[in-house]
Symmetry: D2
Subunit: 264 residues, 4 copies
Amino acid sequence: MCRWAAWMGAPMFLEEVISRPEHSLIAQSQRAEETKTAINADGFGAAWYNHRPEPGLYRDVHPAWSDANLAALAHQVRSPLFLVHVRASTGSNISRENCHPFTHGRWSFMHNGQVGGFDCFRKQADMLIDDAHYNARRGATDSEAIFLHALGLGLDVDPLGAMARAVGDLQDLSERHGQGPHMRFSAAFSDGARLYAVRYASDARAPSLYYRYLSDAAGYMVVSEPLDDAVGDWQAVPSGTALIFDGSSMETAAFAPGALRQAA
Amino acid sequence: MCRWAAWMGAPMFLEEVISRPEHSLIAQSQRAEETKTAINADGFGAAWYNHRPEPGLYRDVHPAWSDANLAALAHQVRSPLFLVHVRASTGSNISRENCHPFTHGRWSFMHNGQVGGFDCFRKQADMLIDDAHYNARRGATDSEAIFLHALGLGLDVDPLGAMARAVGDLQDLSERHGQGPHMRFSAAFSDGARLYAVRYASDARAPSLYYRYLSDAAGYMVVSEPLDDAVGDWQAVPSGTALIFDGSSMETAAFAPGALRQAA
Amino acid sequence: MCRWAAWMGAPMFLEEVISRPEHSLIAQSQRAEETKTAINADGFGAAWYNHRPEPGLYRDVHPAWSDANLAALAHQVRSPLFLVHVRASTGSNISRENCHPFTHGRWSFMHNGQVGGFDCFRKQADMLIDDAHYNARRGATDSEAIFLHALGLGLDVDPLGAMARAVGDLQDLSERHGQGPHMRFSAAFSDGARLYAVRYASDARAPSLYYRYLSDAAGYMVVSEPLDDAVGDWQAVPSGTALIFDGSSMETAAFAPGALRQAA
Amino acid sequence: MCRWAAWMGAPMFLEEVISRPEHSLIAQSQRAEETKTAINADGFGAAWYNHRPEPGLYRDVHPAWSDANLAALAHQVRSPLFLVHVRASTGSNISRENCHPFTHGRWSFMHNGQVGGFDCFRKQADMLIDDAHYNARRGATDSEAIFLHALGLGLDVDPLGAMARAVGDLQDLSERHGQGPHMRFSAAFSDGARLYAVRYASDARAPSLYYRYLSDAAGYMVVSEPLDDAVGDWQAVPSGTALIFDGSSMETAAFAPGALRQAA
């Protein structure tokens, strides 16, 4: 499993999430608390929106705490919308191509969780990716496969619908060819205009997800686990829920791949 | 394009190919002479057979000349059969997974050349890889795809036949979906018992291939371009030819993917 | 030898120097024209000033052309003052600590050139670095030694004077313990308020230096070699000269370590 | 703090220490038990003796568990004498130059421990290194400084005496300029003919050290902490002790830098 955090609001230095808080993402890469893997040292990444429609992306395989370049970037780069991730591999190689976030055009995506038994059906999963997006497949993670499949299903047109169908299709492959738990999915994605966060699992153990509104920075922090001990300020997100952040407003919606698949 | 060299004979330090000769592989990574790309600095790799049935594999993305670990390995490791490669990317990312040689079980494989327009049909190429070998697909190169497809076609049983069919299938995809030149293929592969080298192209410009018998080391050096100026000692290999090295004997055979495909 | 470029003016994306021009820094890392080493692939670095008094610093050992992180950074980061460098090692290891620019507090520094026979007196050179700055010594380059020594000599108070004395001291060590050419020094440094560029050598062969005023971007580009073929627009800087850029004004001054040393 | 292991005996694959045991060095890099830092993920290294007088050296900054090259090397390389180390930084940068073991000529050296307040007197420590060995100073660790100083003091002629004097000199610098605890020193070093291990501290808390004789492999394993739970077989080494392994014999001697310094 992994840990991640996202921000949407007034421009903020990346380090306000990556390193400065008491239980920052770098701290979580060494001592995560709400997940089985305390150590998340198989790489890190940051995707940030600023002057361009497409996000910048910085990823590397070193543990987050030991990378001077990440520290410099985090200290210097300010952005109104960014996604940051520290990785604990669930099977695939340690390489930059397998680090989150993944980006494609304006979209960025990161994931905490797993598709059960993915190695048993990676070929079928790759084949779900449509021709237009196949060349963006650079690594071997289940996460990248979900993202690229969702792009092909119309992430541009119906973000939550496309993501739900993609998650549903991968869960279906796991049920037919893989092993349980079939789908654990706590993810964030953005097109630079809105930020989406989803918490879902095929069983009762969806990876944790919280959000918090920071009034002085007029924005929302969305995280795998709280960045500090101000417990009352962090809202836990129920499983089967999607959050849509648009400027300083937030909406919720149900997220139910199972239902979508039954309908199809 | 890339440069490579292979050895089969008495145990030899890897540096006798990697760094010591006048026009060693490291020299060729900076100043190759018989290829368009003089610089081959997009990574390197070495696969060597010694105490195990499966080969050791060391690959990294740094230019070969600047890696202290490679220098140490080359100075220390002796092997009777090894493959070494310096890479110039023909499109895919610079990452360890895209460096040659590739290995699987006892097999190792490296390639100089290109499958024309590969990005236009990478999906179909990946789909050629059979289920048993798909999980070994770690990168995005045409070379790795040829290798894994050949494994699925029975490289164990009929090495040259399987490789010819794999090359033919990829050439066919290029003719239908890609662009010319469709296939440039100068490759070496081994199962630890024999060393195979092939020179082939769909047109008249197969990447160069030479071999040389070293009597004092009782073995064969096979290379993209000669490691020194002892011109008379290096034999050029004609296009459409395969060499089979077995101990200190060498055989030649025709290598004709086109013919195989016509038969199929 | 190396290649570098610096900008001071209206905020500009780093890629306007790193990758977009016809003969960008990345192009120069593969095909430099005005230096002996055509290939400058032993690492790269960028230091940029923006929201903070101290600069951001991103350095890595990969060739500049193959680093996706650098490409993303260059595409996303805009800065009114930045220094960028691609390295060809003159002896010391390939490591991040030996890549330019070097930074300390508000200062950044990069160098093209060499102190002759540095390995013969590295110990004495290191000893020149004052106690307050010694812990900033992370690598083994002559360049970092010049920078840290200059800091100790009062770079804050008298930038050109301190740099001239530092260069003079290192040249002196080379004359006494090293070998010719004793000092080749084409450098740029900044405190975030002004940009300084110097061209100097102990002999007649100072590494090249040019500058150009871009009126539409209201600023100055300073480079090892021109970024494009607009020959008339690039002004060659004479040896023994320092340029001081302050906002959109430029002054010149003599740079003469020899004279300073005679006076001392 | 760090973890390390060394072997001297019949040729053994490096993986018998690096990865195969229940509590192998890679396991210790994630869950060390006898030290404050459970995670030792700031790099690793292996030095091995085989066909050459000087050892091979492979070091990198990735966590040991995630490096495919290390796994391959460990699986393929057999050696009768090797030193392996996983690092937890005590202050200096994460870089290859700061990873253990360090080598120079025939000598290799690795260290678990710390020189208290080293950053307060690194300059004086560097100045202890004699001219003949100064150019070997590539990093900024206290460990490399001890090693190079010991070389200058005659490690070739009197290994334990030179090492004791070097340790004493660094401890002295710490007492005068640094902070307690002044010296923690659990180290192994070799010239390829003998293997030395030392356990020492300026206070009562010397880092742990054990050894074990493997009769079937006719050799000695020396470790920071046992590689498995066969408790009775691992002998704890008292503080203030040096072990000298020569072929299959072992001697002990007192190790007392304090005494040497008083005598001087």
